[in-house]
């Protein structure tokens, strides 16, 4: 049963921003309900291999946040849940949440016997579908809650019985139904995050047609030891080592035909990813960044300068015009170098498109009156002053800025519920 009043803060989205907003609010003594549509918390940050600028692992930050979360009785977490309705006004909202069944209850010890027992496989969403996972799966090693999930496709198959039989603790419950939950909230933090721009729409780059043209988020999974290749940077087409990697900046961003805005994180993202190539192959690993201009946002200019000083990283000032493929399935990049206006057509082992950010909710109906800008990012709406955007739902941000934004949103939400509390006192 959800314990919620109109002094409760609802946080929509359990990524780095949503978790931060929920924790900051709960640690000041507020009641918080955190709703996440995936079966795990951490969002896209958890899917990164490393962060810039310190090159540390997101699992570290995630661990700290999960520890805070577990220690805090004021946060109620719903995973596999989506907000479907918001009614009412600031200080007095009624929220409807659709809870999708996990088919695994809280008795689960994450032993993994069910996954061993089943045969069926599905695309591994955590690895951006680069690999397969079993129909009974733990999304990733640090999943919270640390419980397995059964994919709905398992229902009615022999795998369902196998999974149930394999479970020693009786955690599998195939009779779970979709549920609608209703509860009160005084303020809402909208932290639904971002999605990578659909690279298929940038037709001259042939993403989806050429196996060796991938996106930056997929490259993170390739570099991660927990990813589909065990951390080896291998080409999808033939599993060969990708020693000569090209990065194409502004793939979709800063483009009137695609995303109008600068996505801000992708320059730093690619600069960071050149480290992965360097670490994997040493001096045999070459990276080339094709760019319009490098925007090492914030105080990251020194990070850029260090990468620039690496003789294994080349910079070509040019937005690649198109990609073809040679007989060995090497992507060939065509364009004109702005420095000297010389033509090039250069083959690489692997091409990484530094795709931009677009809000997750773009084109999706938000069940409330929320203002958004021309790119679909949520804006502060004076008319609806109880709903606050946080993190990448509001703008293209890196992790650092998303956390700042989430803290700000938490503070705003706290002020609303404080007012409610004073009125009722």
């Amino acid at each position: 049963m959800t314990v919620a009043t109109n002094q409760t803060i609802l946080v929509v989205g359990g990524g780095i921003s949503g978790m931060t907003a929920a924790l900051e609010a709960a640690e000041t003594g507020k009641q918080v309900v955190l709703v996440e549509k995936n079966p795990w918390l951490g969002g896209r940050t958890a899917q990164l291999y490393r962060y810039f600028p310190k090159m540390c692992h997101p699992t570290c930050g995630l661990e700290i946040n999960l520890r805070r979360l577990k220690a805090n009785p004021r946060i109620q977490v719903y995973t596999l849940a989506e907000v479907t309705g918001i009614n009412g006004v600031k200080g007095d909202y009624t929220v409807t949440v659709k809870q999708t069944p996990r088919y695994v209850n809280e008795k689960c010890t994450a032993c993994g016997d069910c996954a061993k027992a089943v045969d069926g496989e599905i695309d591994d969403a955590f690895n951006y579908n680069l690999g397969k996972t079993k129909v009974a799966y733990l999304p990733h090693v640090m999943s919270y809650p640390q419980r397995y999930v059964l994919d709905p496709s398992i229902k009615g198959t022999p795998d369902a019985d196998k999974a149930k039989a394999a479970c020693k603790v009786g955690a599998i419950d195939l009779d779970m139904q979709e549920e609608l939950l209703n509860f009160k909230a005084g303020a809402i933090v909208w932290a639904t995050g971002w999605q990578p721009y659909d690279a298929k729409k940038i037709t001259p780059y042939r993403y989806g047609e050429f196996a060796n043209v991938i996106t930056n988020v997929e490259f993170e999974r390739l570099a991660d030891p927990k990813g589909p290749t065990g951390g080896k940077i291998l080409r999808p087409s033939d599993g060969k080592e990708a020693r000569n990697v090209a990065f194409i900046q502004c793939a979709g961003s800063r483009d009137e035909n695609h995303l109008r805005h600068c996505s801000r994180f992708c320059c730093m993202g690619s600069l960071k990813q050149t480290h992965y190539v360097q670490e994997a192959y040493g001096d045999a690993g070459k990276s080339t960044i094709y760019y319009i201009d490098i925007r090492a946002i914030d105080r990251f200019e020194d990070f850029y300068q260090k990468v620039k000083a690496n003789p294994n990283v080349g910079f070509i000032k040019s937005k690649v015009a198109r990609i073809t493929q040679d007989k060995d399935q090497n992507p060939v990049l065509w364009g004109v170098n702005t420095e000297g206006y010389k033509r090039y057509s250069t083959p690489h082992d692997l091409v990484v498109l530094a795709v931009g950010m677009e809000p997750s909710v773009k084109g999706v109906e938000i069940p409330a009156e929320v203002m958004s800008d021309s790119s679909g990012f949520v804006m502060a709406d004076p008319a609806n002053a109880g709903i606050f955007g946080a993190g990448c739902a509001t703008n293209a941000l890196d992790v650092n800025r998303a956390v700042q934004s989430a803290t700000a949103a938490a503070l705003r939400a706290i002020q609303v519920v404080n007012k409610v509390a004073r009125a009722e006192a």
Partner: protein
Amino acid sequence: MSNMNEQMAAKYKNNFLKEIEEQAEMGDWVKMCMQCGVCSGSCPTNFHAGWDHPPQEIFMMIRAGKREEVLTSNSMWQCTSCYNCYVRCPRKVPITHIMHGIAEYAYRLGLAPKMQPSLHLSQTFWNNATKHGRVNEVQLTQSLYFKDGIGAGIKKAMEMKDVALGLVKAKRLNIMEALGGGHKCKDVDGIHKMLAKAKELEAKRKAGKAAGA
């Protein structure tokens, strides 16, 4: 140097960007270019014939005030109007139109390259089509083939004779039109009057621009 060229050079002194913005059609878009290079890389002619300068470089040269090099360049005349650059430009700069705008301005100033094939075709086609309101294919082809002299013309005509015979067979080409005026539109006088009026309006508009109105 033509009189108009000297006037314009004097009028804009060292501000060639302003000159292009005000005098060439769509020239006010030049400042929007961010030098990403997608236009140059997308150009079908760029990887074959090779231009003096790809569009991206032309725009930068305009901003750098390289008046003589830009206006006498063959680049604008190489454009095939495929519109790849315009379609792909991240800033929606109408590159194809700008290239035509600069070409036309260079022509008006008398700086266009002499006997440039695209320029020659444009002029020949225009004269041919406006004479009777319909294109006379035989005469148009003749004047293009014999552009570089009688010998070259005969050689080219022999190369293409199978195509020509096929066209004659399909009744798409009438050899007799080499002699007479060929097919015409119904109201030739009307077309001529309309064109004259359009020319007058255009001349007035451009004179006004040149005078700084």
